[in-house]
C-alpha cells in the first residue's frame, strides 16, 4: 500500500515536471516568434521602403522601373509568406484573437473587387461579383481577418483556374447572417483530397505544381472558425470549386470616414505647409529610409540613433512630430515618450510609434504609453503621410496623372490586322522565339524602326515580353502578325 502511494506521488511529480517543461517550451516559442518577426521585418522594412522611394524617382528608365517593381512584388511575397508562417504558429500556440470593429461590408467587397478584377484580367479570366444591393452595410466584426480569408480564397481561385471565371457572391438569407461564396471554374479538388488540403503544409497535386507554402487554407479555416463560421467546400473535378462560409455579423452604427483616401499619388506638402520631424531609430537603414520618405515631400528632418541624442536634438529644436522606434538599446521608446511628455506635455510634440511587432493587439498599449499614432513596419509611404495629415493637419499636392504612365490596368488592345513585318524579320523572330533566344530577339527588335503606329505598338509589346522573359507571350503575339 505504502509502495503504491509512493508510486502515485512519483507519477504526480513527473507529470508536474513535464507540464512545466511544456509550458516553458511554449513560452520560449512565443518569445522566439516575436523576436524572429521583429528581426525579419526590420531588414524588410528597408528593402520595401527604398523600393518605394526609388519607384517615385522620375529619372529611372523603363527597365529599371520594371526591375524595382519585381523587387517590390517579390519582397511583398516574402512578407506574405513570413506572415503566413507566423499566423499558423500563432494559431497553434492559441494566440490568435478576434479584433472586432465596425466596418462597411460593401466597401471591403469593393476593395477586393478592384484587386481581383486586375488579377483576373491578367490571366484573361472573367470576374464576377454578386453582392447585396445597398450603399453601405455597417457591421461589427473582424474586418482584417474577413479580408484575409477572402483574399486567400479568391487568390486560390485565380491561381487554380486556367479558363472561365471567378465569382464572389455575398447573400443574406437570415438577418445579420451573411453567406460568402468563392466559386471558380478551375481544376477542382478530388474527394479524397478535400480534408487534406485544409491541413498545414499539405497540398494536392495541383497545389504542388503551382507552388506556395500550403498554409493558406489551413489559416483561412481557423480564421473562419474563430469568427464563428465554418469554411466548407464543394467541388467537381475538372469543373471547378466552391468555397463558402456563413458568418453572423451584427449591425453597427455607421461612421463618417475622415477624408476619403485619394487614388492619386502624393507629390509633396502643399504650399504653406511646413514641418519639422525627428526620426529616432537605432537601425541606420530604417532611419535614413524614413527620413527620405519625409524629405521627398518637403519636410525638414533631423535624425537620432538613440534616446539620448533624440532628447538633445529635441532641445536644440522642438520638432512638430517624432517618429519613434520602440525597441532600442539603452533608452527604449517607452522611456523616451515619458521624458518628452514630462517636459513638453502630452500634445505639444506628436509621437508616432514605428514598430516591427506582429502583435497588433499591442496597438492599445502603444496609445496608453502616450503615442498618438502607430505605423507597422514595413510601412508604406502613404502610412507616413497619413500621420502628417491626421496629427498635424498637413495638406498635400497630388501628382497629375500623366497619360503615358502605366496605371496597372490591363494593357490596351492592339489591332493586329494592321501590323506588318517583313517576311524575313518575322521568320527570324519566330525562330528565335522557338529557341527562347532572348538575346537574338532583343537585337532584332532593337534594329526595327516601324513607321506605322500599330506596328510600333506591337514592337513595344514584344520588347516588354522579352524584358519579362515571357517567351509564351512573344510566340502568341508573333502568331497574330501578318507578313508584309
Amino acid at each position: 500500500m505504502q509502495k503504491e502511494i509512493a508510486e502515485h506521488k512519483k507519477t504526480g511529480e513527473e507529470l508536474r515536471k513535464t507540464k512545466e517543461l511544456a509550458e516553458t517550451a511554449n513560452r520560449a516559442k512565443s518569445v522566439f516568434l516575436a523576436n524572429m518577426s521583429h528581426e525579419i521585418r526590420t531588414p524588410m522594412n528597408a528593402v520595401l521602403g527604398y523600393t518605394q522611394i526609388l519607384l517615385r524617382d522620375k529619372n529611372l528608365n523603363a527597365e529599371q522601373t520594371e526591375a524595382m517593381k519585381i523587387i517590390e512584388s517579390s519582397g511583398n511575397h516574402l512578407l506574405e509568406m513570413i506572415n503566413d508562417i507566423l499566423d499558423i504558429s500563432k494559431i497553434e500556440a492559441g494566440h490568435m484573437d478576434l479584433h472586432s470593429t465596425s466596418f462597411d461590408l460593401n466597401k471591403l467587397i469593393a476593395s477586393l473587387a478592384d484587386m481581383f478584377q486586375f488579377r483576373c484580367s491578367q490571366k484573361q479570366l472573367g470576374w464576377r461579383i454578386e453582392r447585396l444591393d445597398s450603399a453601405a452595410i455597417w457591421v461589427l466584426g473582424d474586418e482584417g481577418k474577413l479580408r484575409q480569408v477572402l483574399i486567400n480564397l479568391l487568390g486560390n481561385a485565380v491561381k487554380f483556374t486556367e479558363a472561365g471565371e471567378v465569382l464572389l457572391r455575398i447573400t443574406s438569407e437570415q438577418a445579420d447572417h451573411y453567406l460568402f461564396e468563392v466559386i471558380d471554374t478551375g481544376a477542382g479538388i478530388s474527394p479524397e483530397n478535400r480534408t487534406m488540403i485544409f491541413q498545414p503544409f499539405r497540398q494536392d497535386e495541383e497545389g504542388l505544381k503551382k507552388g506556395g507554402t500550403g498554409l493558406g487554407l489551413a489559416i483561412a479555416k481557423k480564421q473562419v472558425a474563430l469568427m464563428g463560421g465554418e469554411l466548407a467546400l464543394d467541388s467537381t473535378p475538372g469543373k471547378g470549386s466552391r468555397f463558402f462560409f456563413d458568418l453572423h455579423l451584427p449591425p453597427a452604427a455607421g461612421q463618417v470616414e475622415a477624408g476619403t483616401k485619394p487614388d492619386k499619388t502624393i507629390s509633396r506638402l502643399a504650399e504653406g505647409c511646413h514641418l519639422n520631424a525627428l526620426v529616432v531609430d537605432d537601425v541606420r537603414e530604417n532611419r535614413t529610409m524614413l527620413s527620405k520618405m519625409l524629405r521627398i515631400v518637403g519636410a525638414d528632418v533631423v535624425e537620432a540613433e538613440n534616446g539620448r541624442t533624440a532628447l538633445e536634438k529635441i532641445h536644440a529644436r522642438i520638432p512638430d512630430i517624432v517618429f519613434l522606434d520602440m525597441r532600442m538599446p539603452e533608452m527604449d521608446g517607452t522611456e523616451i515618450i515619458a521624458r518628452i511628455q514630462e517636459e513638453f506635455g502630452l500634445e505639444r510634440i506628436k509621437i508616432v510609434i514605428a514598430t516591427a511587432t506582429v502583435f497588433r493587439h499591442q496597438r492599445e498599449k502603444f496609445f496608453q504609453l502616450g503615442g498618438h499614432a502607430v505605423v507597422w513596419k514595413p510601412f508604406r509611404c502613404e502610412d507616413i503621410y497619413d500621420c502628417l495629415k491626421k496629427l498635424l493637419g498637413m495638406e498635400f499636392d497630388y501628382e497629375e496623372e500623366s497619360p503615358g504612365k502605366t496605371t496597372g490596368h490591363a494593357e490596351p488592345n492592339i489591332n493586329f490586322s494592321k501590323t506588318r513585318l517583313p517576311e524575313n524579320i518575322l521568320l527570324d523572330l519566330k525562330k528565335a522565339a522557338e529557341f527562347g533566344n532572348v538575346t537574338r530577339l532583343a537585337k532584332t527588335l532593337d534594329n526595327l524602326s516601324p513607321q506605322d503606329t500599330a506596328t510600333q505598338a506591337v514592337v513595344a509589346r514584344l520588347k516588354t515580353c522579352v524584358g519579362r522573359c515571357d517567351v509564351e507571350g512573344i510566340t502568341n503575339i508573333l502568331g497574330k502578325i501578318r507578313e508584309a
Binding site: I70, L208, K209, G211, F435, G436, N437, V438, R440, V471
Partner: protein, 132 residues
C-alpha cells in the same frame, strides 16, 4: 558562346540573363524542364544553367534526360539550387551536373563559374576536332 537558362520563375531568368549577356554570351531561356529538352538539341548551347526545383520535371530529371541524348550529352550543366544540403549537392552531381551555384546567386560567382566551364568546353571541342 551560347547559354541556355532554365527556370520556372521569369524574374530569376531575367537576373541571370542580365548577369551573363554583358559578358557576351548569347542567351536562350526555357521556363520548364520539358521546354529545355525541346530547345537544347536544336539550339545546342555550350552550357546549360538549370534550376532544380521546378513544377513538372525537376532539374535532376531534366539533366538525366539531357545526358541520355547523344546530341546534348556533352553540354555541361550547372545546377542553380536553393537547397544546400550535402544530399542535394550529391544528387546534382549524380544526375550528371558539372557544377552547382547556390541561390541567391552572386554575380561574380556566376560569371566565374560560367567562364571556367565555357573554357573547358572550348578546349574539349578543340580536342575532338584535332583527334578526328
Amino acid at each position: 558562346m551560347k547559354t541556355l537558362l532554365v527556370d520556372d520563375t521569369p524574374a530569376n531568368l531575367d537576373v541571370l540573363r542580365k548577369t551573363l549577356e554583358p559578358e557576351g554570351y548569347e542567351i536562350s531561356i526555357a521556363s520548364s524542364g520539358e521546354a529545355a529538352l525541346k530547345i537544347a538539341p536544336r539550339f545546342l548551347p555550350d552550357l546549360i544553367l538549370l534550376d532544380v526545383m521546378m513544377p513538372g520535371m525537376n532539374g535532376y530529371e531534366t539533366c538525366r534526360r539531357l545526358k541520355e541524348n547523344e546530341a546534348t550529352r556533352d553540354i555541361p550543366v550547372i545546377f542553380i539550387t536553393a537547397q544546400n544540403d550535402k544530399e542535394d549537392i550529391v544528387k546534382a552531381f549524380r544526375a550528371g551536373g558539372a557544377d552547382y551555384i547556390a541561390k541567391p546567386i552572386l554575380h561574380e560567382e556566376v560569371c566565374a563559374r560560367v567562364r571556367t566551364h565555357m573554357q573547358l568546353r572550348g578546349l574539349q571541342k578543340e580536342l575532338k576536332e584535332s583527334s578526328r
